[in-house]
Symmetry: C2
Amino acid sequence: MSQSRVILENLSPELNAGRYFIKRVVGDTLSVAIDLYGDGHDVVNGRLLYRHEKQRKWRSVAMTHRGNDRWGGAFALESPGTYEYKVEGWVDYGLNWQHEIERKIEGGQTVAVELLDGVQYLDYLQKKVAKGHKKQIKEWVALFADESRYAEATAVAVSEELHALFQAHPERRFVVEYPARKVFVDRKKAEFSTWYELFPRSASSVEGQHGSFKDVEKLLPRIAEFGFDTLYMPPIHPIGRVHRKGKNNSVTAEPGEPGSCWGVGAKEGGHTALLPELGTLKDFKRLIKKALEHDIEIAMDIAFQCAPDHPWVKAHPEWFRWRPDGSVQYAENPPKKYQDILPIYFETPDWKNLWQALTDVVLYWMEQGVRVFRIDNPHTKPYRFWEHLIAECKKKDPGVIFLSEAFTRPAVMHQLAKVGFSQSYSYYTWRNTKAELIAYLTELTQGPGRDYFRANFWPNTPDILPWALQSGQEPVFLTRLFMAGTLNSNYGLYGPVYEFMVHEAVPGKEEYWDSEKYEIRQWDWEKRNKITHVMTRMNQARKDNPALQAMHNLQFCTVENENILAWYKSDSAADNHLLMVVNIDPYYTQSGWVQTPLSAIGIAPGQEFTVHDLISGNSYLWNQEWNYVELNPFALPFHLFRIEKP
Amino acid sequence: MSQSRVILENLSPELNAGRYFIKRVVGDTLSVAIDLYGDGHDVVNGRLLYRHEKQRKWRSVAMTHRGNDRWGGAFALESPGTYEYKVEGWVDYGLNWQHEIERKIEGGQTVAVELLDGVQYLDYLQKKVAKGHKKQIKEWVALFADESRYAEATAVAVSEELHALFQAHPERRFVVEYPARKVFVDRKKAEFSTWYELFPRSASSVEGQHGSFKDVEKLLPRIAEFGFDTLYMPPIHPIGRVHRKGKNNSVTAEPGEPGSCWGVGAKEGGHTALLPELGTLKDFKRLIKKALEHDIEIAMDIAFQCAPDHPWVKAHPEWFRWRPDGSVQYAENPPKKYQDILPIYFETPDWKNLWQALTDVVLYWMEQGVRVFRIDNPHTKPYRFWEHLIAECKKKDPGVIFLSEAFTRPAVMHQLAKVGFSQSYSYYTWRNTKAELIAYLTELTQGPGRDYFRANFWPNTPDILPWALQSGQEPVFLTRLFMAGTLNSNYGLYGPVYEFMVHEAVPGKEEYWDSEKYEIRQWDWEKRNKITHVMTRMNQARKDNPALQAMHNLQFCTVENENILAWYKSDSAADNHLLMVVNIDPYYTQSGWVQTPLSAIGIAPGQEFTVHDLISGNSYLWNQEWNYVELNPFALPFHLFRIEKP
């Protein structure tokens, strides 16, 4: 039993009734909406309260009625870390009295008794207002009781001044509170990042030589020139020798073969050691530093599994599963076997120490200066473990970023995002047709995941050479790259093979032939081509245009051609307006009329405006809503138009 | 930190994260769905647990995977009252072991070690199974270790028998529980009811005489003949004399005028007294008994407001608001004034006693035999009050039914349904066009309210003579009645004025002229006409056809004519198939082709079948999916077809 008369429900945004935090980035404004209403006709009111985890005191902003009992309010997210937000609602007795008296006066009624009734609300105000107002209110109390000054009294009763005082000092009896929810505020990079992946073992320009951190250092100017801000290297730890994989995933390695770098751990050390061929910790820290000079961050691969000769297997046998024949359990997904990898036994009775040891691995690399982690196969480890690990790491540095490498079922990928991953690999890799792309992007930008699931678009990875790229057609490489970087604000490339259009696959599979996963490759690090030209221009456009730095500002535009996809993006300040048009047919020139969202941009019908292509450099003068485009796949199969408002 | 590896989320049905109960009726099956999945590839499993509030022990049924990590289960709701239901999920170690060994055998692997590994799961089973099985399992343990009987052992390992034992006796380590939710099970009447409203003051057949319960008793055969099962009378309590309203809502009553029956209370008593002109408590209880003999229940009006001469005003002045001039506050909605009614002051410091007194009113009438209450203006009283009152009354009798008379904003109407009202007046009264009806019925049957908001369709009420009926056209009266009773399972009529097509309104308003709210009217209780004929036939069809006794089994059928609305309903056993077709144009004959849902009914294309019109008695032979209909508003503007499967 409670006397509260206000209902607060359907808070938005909210995740699993508050079980998980939602996500935003620094500089965002968090817009909160809620159903707020009472019984009867009384005036209700509400406010939004919020505080950063480092603040004790709540700050508040007024909420306003947006129609149909839905109220809204917003506040700025200024610092990384966790904010809490909650809503209070109440019947507003002062405003209600004023509203009633207004309606009665409008209806021609005499309100002498109502004025006397109002004295109780003035008395309340009297106690709450600043000193300057106290005298004023005292005078009003006398005025309300003075029949000879009725006209003056009614004028005060309905005045804006009194309204503002009631609004500022509500008598919040029987306040209802909607419980606090959390939003985690990442640094901007969580929403806007441009990834380049390479195997440091292939970084040398000397034929046959194992690449090193020093070699990678030499590639930084090239990667910076192409416009990438994140350099991700697969695991850089010692690689196991027991059951080491050979070229093309052969079950035995020939002498001298380097093995899969995901077979982590050998006599040289485990997850906190470095592969001697790559260099020393000093070399690695120097690479981090040099990269930062190019505005590039080093992203590290965390693969929580062990080679059979990983030091933990002897030091902590209880962290692994042992079979009835005394052998240790290797990874399997029947009928597939991964003899070079032992899964970690998360259900071990020693699980608390295990979790701590794994968390310590990430904390160790954070201490060395790494702030971006790509987590290998997170979906084969418990969700509660990741929730713990990520929370611990964010305590040390709220700017740490975790990319979830889970290509699996939607529920599993979403759960990993809920427990804290900052970004997630996505199905973009396999979304090719116009209908597929529109459906998927609509789900990502408007579906329930929009508050917590940040997709990262990868046209390829060392594990995936998608069918679409296996043709080796340049227009496909160009459009898959272009769409990754302009449909979405987070994207990445498994670089050298993409630039050079490597497309030889293991027959019948979406896997690279002669994959760098199992061998050292040699690349021509001096080469430039159409693809590197496009990525350079596009990545520059991404840096220059805030509209390309956000995820949910996507609006598809009608084009009556199934081979042409067009979409519009603008920034939150509505200063930056981009129109992207792609021909996804790699064989033929396609043309069509694109419906341009003139009213969203703020252009009057018939007004002339310029569209400037940030890839080709060409400009066009348009003056209509529907505009003709024609795209030749062998020239440039897309436009990246910046719309210049007249 | 927790070792649980299973995720349970997105339970359906669920209301406000379990804050409120959902609703069903006795005989329903509750289908529960939930996302259930683990990390990695391990086999997971789950079960649905449930119990009636009078049971201590939980019963359980297995849940099964329905695709995309969504699991389902169901149980029968056999008794009125509250059931709890919850879900458990776990990694199923036994089934997982069996699944892995199956895949390995299929992949051609030798599984000798895996068989040894399986002994631990057999050991677990050994402890759990019934005596008869223990010996069998002991033999299997020996078998698994016997290399010479490998083929036999693998056959047992993958056997259905072992699968069934694992399924029946899961080793539920690290079980995750989704918290219990509640479903309130009403008696069937909450979902299927046919209401007739009359003012007992007008029940006399003697000119100028105040009607009485005895007069109402004489009308029971007529109401039963028309097929109604609920007889609802506006308040039957003493009517205040102070500021009594006169004819047509005049602010003063002439001597002898009866006043509005919603001005409850006078010197003769308050909410637990009866208006002497209507009769004694004995008469009222006799009416209840006689009505039941006709399968009719008496529904009582609860209007929690007081006339100025209600005994409570003197006995409990603190339950009312007093103005600074010493007068008591009457009801207002500026500029409207209701001087004959005092609102109850729910924020009184004596609120606990007030709530109890009001609850006691309903409990008192329940003791006299009333089980159906129509609550007047519930939206002007606190939600928490209703939640308390309804819960207290349901404790005494889970079969008690409350109809919410709130014609107000959607959020408010829905909140009242959430706090416990069994049925709600609805916007049907103002939904006239085909598009409006389809949109509204789709919201009611498929929107979030479907688990708690049971609409009751009223074409008119004493407060509402909708514009559509003010024309007085017979086809409109016929189709509004027909749609109320066949689109929805709960409907009601403000009877005599509807049968006799009374349609004179207060100019410019949707209110009856010479309303019975303020005066005694005389009706010809012997008269029969086309409307009474149609309601008789339709209400009989409602009793005979289970498809018309449920709310959410509605499926609209395509007809390419904006004036023809067609829909299909069938019962949960799929034995009863109805097709309704209405011409909503009151002026012209309309025709069109109705798409008949043959596959839902179970009729093969080209097969001949009969449709039998339960109103006109005509039958037609159809043999196609699209069938021609032609409806003349001046004959019968609808079909109520029962489809006879060949």
